[in-house]
Symmetry: C2
């Protein structure tokens, strides 16, 4: 099934069920007030939500027209957000371009940072940032929303606790990346609020494209309406279940935790890139210098996974980067 | 005033007001359901909470006996947790002991990591961890709970938005620290769930001990009932307002965000240490090798700030480290 959150001004949004073909949506607050509440009570809510979804698909409940501009992120505030860097090709390109030392055991221990999860943006929200000099970039990636994850669980246990799959624009500020990586403490200024595609979907909704804990679909990315890349999620080195088990190695994760794949990246250069930094790295490797600039205010990005039948399982991220207003006293 | 959260099984706990002398506590859910809700609606809740606090102190509301074992962390689930490393003495000792390269600009740009905030422990909760081989350590520190913080706000704007002050045991697993620092992506396995002292207090409650955005009080730490250290918060290189402004440089922070000081550490060796890793570093510098071991299961720690009048403004953290149960299918 497909779930979404109406941006109703509350911290968590109001739960909606969205039709498979993304033409209609209908409230489900009588089942659970928010998507977070549904995930927290998944066993109690699942069947009722599934029935509502089926009824909406069958035209047995009216629904309203699907309107992504009315939607918040599926979880506007998640209990926790852990973002992996599970496409090793991306890391290799960055190392090659910037002549960085290789990170030890990168193919056996997942790279992952803890991000802020209190203020996620909706699929069509403007992305306000303070300064274009910070090297504004997008990152197209996939993610999963988990149930409660016990400490030190196995990847197999984690796989059974993946409730929903999501698509993410992990906004990044590249001017801060080298400084924050060098500190060893990870990202604070380099990772402002991320945004999410309109709908979160249960893994079964992806059919054969959900394999080995991976979203095996191309993620189509356009910058200002021009093709930027369409790397496929199947080249993820670690599956989401392995990323979750890594995050939970020494602590439990509460229901609603989001675990991200990191920028989708493929070895085949014809796939393009899911972030500007990677394209610039390729330019540095191939041409000796980066040519593509980071984002200016007013630029836009669209991101959508495309299924074999041409459908967009998660809907479409379509948003602009804008100048943030100064803080008021 | 002093606020706390009753561990009632809910995600956020039930709001309590605690008497200044930590002898009585009384429900305040009629004012706000949880401490998080109170912080989110601070302007609306403040006067009513202050009146309840005054009435409790004056004996005009009955209250129940203060019982820290019934308490959760003030915010068992916070929107976000950013922990600084603002006592530079601690960092210098670690660099000296481990012959690490100096981090550039450490005295002008705060070191800070993003931690998990979905599962904070109460002041007397056992701390379950999977393996003593992970190098189990405590870290005594101070923190603040903020109101909404606008993006790119100034330290002065941030100072006016500090609502509550807290005392923290930032549990750390030292076996993971070098690996995760080397990755540049910050801490995941090295930072399991942290725990909090019983009460969160408004800055005015600290009187002259709240100065320049710092908690100028000694933090007394005992390991298994033996003195371990009592470093004073006044040597914090950056004030909390400066740490908040750093965290908010490229994003807003939602009300209820907790910002931590990092391990309290003083230049004067007679103050002892607020974490085992620092004592071990001093032993390595002075004696050529670390003598003090990390924690075994069954060991305990107590932490309490002590005011000039001998009172404990935040109450006392008193907890044991125990073996976590294996994950169930």
């Amino acid at each position: 099934m497909k779930l979404a959150s109406l941006a109703d001004g509350s911290a968590h949004g109001a739960l909606l069920v969205v039709s498979r073909d993304l033409t209609r949506m209908t409230p489900a607050q009588d089942i659970a007030p928010s998507l977070l509440a549904a995930v927290e009570q998944w066993a109690n809510c699942h069947d009722a939500l599934q029935a509502r979804y089926q009824a909406l698909n069958d035209g047995h409940v009216p629904g309203m027209p699907y309107d992504p501009t009315a939607l918040a992120a599926p979880l506007p505030r998640a209990p926790q957000w852990c973002d992996g860097s599970a496409f090793l090709n991306h890391g290799y390109l960055m190392e090659q371009a910037f002549k960085l030392p290789a990170i030890p055991n990168v193919d056996t221990v997942p790279l992952m940072y803890q991000g802020a999860s209190d203020d996620f943006l909706g699929p069509c929200d403007d992305i306000p940032l303070p300064d274009v000099a910070h090297g504004i970039d997008f990152e197209g990636e996939y993610g999963v929303i988990t149930d409660d994850i016990p400490m030190a669980c196995t990847p197999e246990q984690a796989l059974r606790r993946i409730r929903l799959v999501v698509q993410i624009n992990d906004v990044s500020l590249r001017a801060f990346t080298p400084v924050e990586i060098r500190s060893g403490f990870g990202f604070i200024n380099a990772k402002p609020s991320s945004s999410f595609a309109p709908v979160a979907v249960t893994p079964d909704e992806l059919g054969l494209a959900w394999r080995n804990g991976r979203v095996c679909l191309p993620l189509h990315i356009e910058r200002n309406g021009e093709w930027f890349g369409q790397p496929n999620g199947q080249e993820m080195h670690f599956g989401f279940h392995e990323l979750i088990a890594h995050a939970a190695r020494t602590r439990r994760l509460r229901a609603g935790t989001i675990v991200g794949s990191g920028t989708v990246s493929n070895k085949d250069r014809r796939a393009g890139s899911a972030c500007i930094a990677e394209r610039r790295a390729i330019e540095m490797i191939d041409q000796g210098q980066a040519v593509t600039g980071f984002l200016q205010f007013g630029e836009s990005v669209t991101m959508q996974a495309i299924a074999d039948d041409g459908s967009r399982p998660f809907g479409t991220i379509a948003q602009r980067f804008v100048q943030a207003l100064p803080a008021q006293d």
